[in-house]
Symmetry: C2
Subunit: 355 residues, 2 copies
């Protein structure tokens, strides 16, 4: 059985790290006898927008929906196209139209990577952020009244549905059940955001009844961000709304020193639509074109894609190879952000060779 992968490199360093992501996937595919077929698309980038006036062609949904997964680089180049246009016109379309309602991001302190937190060792930080990825604070409902006057008022709705909340909670509880510590933390702000967040809390209590073996706690988002810094070892699976999950899944990798190398998965768990795998980092216009971007985020995202396709062993082999190359610490191989003088290609090749 051949798995068909749609490849969209996007903008900036997205186009540089993508070949290394594919190189690692091909190495793992060979090793574990997996048939992968890659199809590259030019759309979903700001250059495409400048040429066509939209980020995606009209029939993008038809073109992509038959693939087994989307492998995405990075999108956005504010000097060419404002972020809210490039992102709402591509990534956020995929997430919503393909009902990728789970955004999953590991936060793991890797060997050889220095945490900005004092005294933390690999093993101390190892948790997942599960983010609701289709509704909540990222709504398109609202508008402006009395525009251009002193009475100007702008309103935007946060929308939570029982379907939307329950399914992300279920996924998070299920994930917690696969982990040794069986612990779930809910991000809330029900003491301040007085309608949607108490509802979120209620659904957590309801869902928890079906998982008596999971230890559940909750923190308001303000103190939760503080606790990511003060007690990152407390966390195992952290579940949050679209916005809270977004914040926590940048802060978490930052605490592990891996913001430049963290991966993410945008998942439609039922497999009705393709899921999308992308590094957490953006297109980084400032270093684009130099061949010095760290490709680990892309490669690690490829590992998450293999796991999603059912190849856990192959996925683990990629992560192990990343850890090995990082802990060897060869400065000719590693890129500048992790203390070396190597290139995107040297690091990508070392990881592929290790697989």
């Amino acid at each position: 059985m051949t798995h068909r992968i749609a490849v969209i490199a996007g903008d900036g360093i997205g186009t540089e790290v993508m070949p290394e992501g594919i190189r690692a996937l091909e190495a793992a595919a060979k090793q574990f006898n997996i048939a992968l077929e890659f199809t590259t698309f030019e759309f979903g980038s700001c250059d495409y927008y400048l040429e066509h006036g939209s980020m995606l062609p009209e029939d993008w949904f038809e073109q992509l929906k038959g693939f087994d997964a989307l492998f995405y680089g990075a999108v956005g180049w504010p000097d060419k196209v404002p972020d809210h246009i490039s992102l709402w016109g591509s990534l956020l379309q995929f997430r919503r139209q393909f009902d990728q309602y789970i955004n999953l991001r590991p936060c793991k302190l890797m060997p050889g990577i220095k945490s900005p937190l004092a005294g933390r060792q690999p093993g101390d930080i190892d948790f997942y952020v599960v983010r609701e990825n289709t509704e909540g604070e990222y709504s398109s409902v609202g508008g402006k009244m009395f525009g251009g006057t002193d009475r100007e008022v702008v309103i935007q709705d946060t929308v939570m549905t029982r379907t939307g909340v329950d399914r992300v909670l279920k996924y998070a509880f299920d994930l917690a059940q696969t982990r040794p510590r069986k612990k779930l933390t809910s991000a809330t702000k029900s003491n301040g955001i007085s309608i949607t967040m108490p509802y979120w809390d209620e659904r957590v209590v309801e869902m928890a009844k079906q998982y008596p073996d999971i230890a559940v706690d909750k923190f308001h988002i303000d103190i939760l961000t503080a606790n990511f810094v003060l007690h990152p070892d407390w966390f195992d699976v952290v579940v949050g709304s679209n916005l809270f999950g977004d914040i926590l899944s940048d802060l978490g990798p930052a605490c592990t020193g891996t913001i430049g190398i963290a991966p993410s998965a945008n998942i439609n768990p039922e497999g009705h639509f393709p899921s999308l795998f992308e590094p957490v980092h953006g297109s980084a216009p400032d270093i684009a074109g130099k061949g010095i971007a760290n490709p680990i985020g892309q490669i690690w995202s490829g590992a998450m894609m293999l796991e999603h396709l059912g190849y856990k062993e192959a996925a683990d082999a990629i992560v192990t190879a990343i850890e090995k190359v990082l802990s060897e610490g060869d400065s000719q191989v590693l890129t500048g952000d992790v203390g070396g003088q190597g290139t995107t290609a040297s690091l990508g090749k070392a990881i592929a060779d290790t697989i």
Copy 2:
């Protein structure tokens, strides 16, 4: 001229740290010849709620509006009263009815306090978070439809007004102008929250035109929280909406190791209504009643109150006394959270004596 201060100790450790806050204020008042008169109120606590069925008496506004400032301890005791009731029934009423539209919190790495961030020294982290304190994400507009069914949907509006946004921005720009680095950072999320946040950005651009001497930048809230951890030295004055300011003003103090001792001011800059000064920490039911809570947050909040009343020198004297006692590091004096075996009273007394 006598300044009349309304004192509301609230719940839990609020009642324990308040006497030390007053002790320090009285020491500074004596030293600098300031006439302060304290009037204590029992309402605004969960015990008051249990007795009276509401957090505040009906005429609280009349009772309090003539005071020059409110000195507040901490409110909330979830086992007695759910947080959203106790907080919306007290603190959030004060903020809104007294139009305390600025929430100001210093984030400063103090001598003798260990930062959870690796290798940071006093001097490295010294910035203010300016938070919009009356509108934005903390709205009471919204509701639930199809309750109890699978179609259940819950909606809450974020509401931003030009008045509300511009005045907090103006305050933040003015504050930046008093600082040596003259730098302002705006917290946004205009790439995801597509209506209110682009509006916030627009108003920042507009306001910046009136402050050509201020260096302005902006970050999306996700990467901004990451940068608090990775580059806390980048920041001078950080301005954010109600929710983003809330998050950043917990995370900032956490990064300086001072979440238990950070102060805050809820300010009505025009002085039409009294401003409110309170520690960042909550009522801490877990350690309440033991006399071991650190009173510095309350004392430092008192310093902010004096500064607000026009006594900058007296305020500085309190902060200097706090720094001195912390750097002396006498374990008989300091409370457990900062490495000592002392009590709320021993630490409060040492600071008052030093003033």
